[in-house]
């Protein structure tokens, strides 16, 4: 018997203040998928992610998480989320990289109990994975944009999730750092089987790196990224007919500085 998909939406409609933000969306995200979510600003990407997390109720349709209806799903530790504005915190906040990552180990069933040795081991492991172990004792306000992203991903990873939802984590970060970040996520996806859904405006990274593309602009289209996929066909569904994305698959080789 095959495992149920990580996320499954059927006829999902989401409204906010009476306006339809997501209209009748149906899609499946399998375990181990690496999904790039693209679409214009205001198209409903963040709203869709928040609906998957149960923050926003659906006006219609259903969401299933690991085969369970979202209404009865309670295993939220299996899903971790990094918000769009996570790195825009008060730089003077007195918190070190290690302390912030440790906060990721708080779970519903262990409220009010101190972190144990094994929790701190998990923290150090997550920081190691994100290559942040050297900066563990640094105050988070002194990190660069790219380092901040990696700490927040480490804070999400330390929960040992099966699904990682990332909402535009590379906004305001230079191109090289972005590329290294996507590479890191690719490695996690490949080595740990982590299901990743990432909102991104970097179409080259999506089509070179990821296994699925999800286009969101009120309507939702999802497609496997294969050699046969013509990016413009699906992108025009959300960006409009005038949109043209120049992309040649062979250009993926060498796109990333470390390859």
């Amino acid at each position: 018997m095959t495992a149920a998909p990580a996320i499954e939406a059927q006829g999902l409609t989401i409204t906010r203040s009476g306006a339809t933000v997501i209209n009748d969306a149906s899609f499946v995200i399998n375990r181990g998928d690496y999904v790039g979510m693209v679409g214009p600003n205001g198209g409903g990407k963040t709203t869709l992610l928040q609906a998957l997390l149960g923050v926003i109720p659906a006006a219609g349709g259903s969401i299933r998480l690991f085969g369970r209806d979202k209404k009865t799903f309670s295993d939220w530790e299996r899903i971790a989320y990094v918000a769009q504005d996570a790195i825009n915190f008060d730089a003077s906040f007195p918190l070190t990289v290690r302390e912030l990552t440790g906060l990721g180990r708080i779970t519903r069933d262990r409220l009010g109990r101190p972190l144990r040795q094994e929790d701190w081991h998990a923290v150090d492991e997550a920081l190691g994975l994100m290559e942040m172990d050297d900066l563990a004792d640094r105050r988070i306000g002194r990190l660069s944009g790219g380092q901040k992203q990696r700490v927040f991903v480490a804070k999400a990873l330390v929960r040992d999730p099966e699904v990682l939802l990332l909402d535009e984590p590379v906004t305001g970060v230079d191109a090289d750092t972005q590329k290294r970040f996507y590479k890191k996520l690719s490695d996690l996806n490949a080595s740990h089987g982590l299901t990743i859904v990432i909102v991104s405006h970097d179409l080259a990274a999506v089509f070179c790196r990821m296994s699925k593309v999800m286009c969101v602009n009120r309507d939702v289209y999802i497609a496997d990224i294969t050699d046969d996929l013509e990016p413009n066909e699906i992108l025009r569904e959300v960006y409009g007919d005038h949109f043209h994305f120049v992309f040649h698959r062979h250009e993926c080789t060498g796109v990333f500085a470390d390859e």
Binding site: L53, V55, W76, E77, Y81, A83, A86, F89, S92, F93, P94, L95, T96, E99, L100, G102, L103, G104, I106, T107, R108, L111, G112, P114, L115, D137, R139, R159
Partner: protein
């Protein structure tokens, strides 16, 4: 002017009134510094000042009803802090406006009670400016009880409160019960203010809440160490303040606050120069 010197301090420690003052003062300083540090990070320090002034109404009520004023002050402060949180959450008023409203209601309520009852002006004065050297056994039991409860709450939910303080939305998504813990924290603020009234007085309580945390923040440490430094500064200010005021016979609450302010200035200068 007192004829005592600092060399008389060991002898003062033998007096029961001085022991009561030190125990009550140190418990208060510890909890104020710890709670105050969270309030600074939450940018809610004025809630401390507002609630202290609201507690004035509770003090007057206690004196009128012949109930221990600290208990009535605690009830009124708790009601005020929960109301402020409710007004904020429901969008009735922003934090500063909600604090101002409760401050005005509590303080004017106190004035009405005083004018109706009359006759306890002198006793009220001690609550306005603190009278740590007159702390009796009952006060000490109340201060210790509230102090232990406050320290337990902070100690147990330390990391959850930190998580909420850093990013409330993220904490909610992680499954942390943000609303109950925030209500609990605000009741803790009311408790802390109440136990500080006898020690430092309604007018100056905000200093005990803000100065230790602010001093510790100048040192650029981790969260854990900043918390410890804040508590240390609070305890040191209290010990030095009580001792110096007893030796030189000057207003205790004033000396405590001046000592705390001096430590803050020292830390701020150290940061500038280092």
């Amino acid at each position: 002017m007192s004829s005592l010197t600092l060399l008389d301090l060991p002898r003062l420690l033998g007096y029961q009134f001085f022991q009561h003052a030190l125990i009550g003062g140190l418990i208060t300083a510890l909890v104020c510094a710890w709670v105050g540090f969270f309030l600074i990070l939450r940018r809610e320090t004025m809630i401390g000042d507002g609630i202290a002034h609201t507690a004035f109404g509770g003090i007057a009520l206690g004196l009128l009803l012949h109930v221990n004023p600290l208990l009535t002050a605690w009830v009124v402060s708790t009601l005020a802090v929960v109301t402020i949180a409710y007004m904020r959450r429901k969008g009735i008023a922003h934090s500063d406006a909600a604090i101002a409203v409760m401050l005005a209601i509590g303080f004017s309520g106190g004035l009405i009670i005083i004018s109706l009852a009359g006759g306890f002006n002198v006793e009220l004065f001690s609550y306005l400016f603190g009278s740590i050297l007159t702390i009796d056994q009952t006060d000490l039991v109340i201060v210790s009880g509230l102090g232990v409860a406050a320290a337990l709450f902070l100690g147990i939910f330390y990391k959850e409160l930190l998580s909420i303080t850093f990013d409330e939305e993220a904490a909610r998504l992680m499954g942390i019960p943000v609303t109950p813990l925030s209500v609990g924290f605000h009741i803790l603020v009311a408790t802390t203010i109440t136990l500080s009234i006898k020690v430092i007085g309604i007018i100056l309580v905000v200093a005990l809440i803000v100065l230790p945390g602010l001093t510790a923040l100048q040192l650029d440490l981790s969260f854990r160490r900043t918390t410890m430094a804040a508590v240390g500064v609070g305890l040191l200010s209290m010990f030095l303040g009580i001792s110096l005021s007893a030796v030189y016979d000057v207003a205790t609450s004033g000396v405590i606050v001046f000592t705390a302010a001096g430590l803050f200035l020292f830390a701020a200068l150290y940061r500038r120069l280092s």
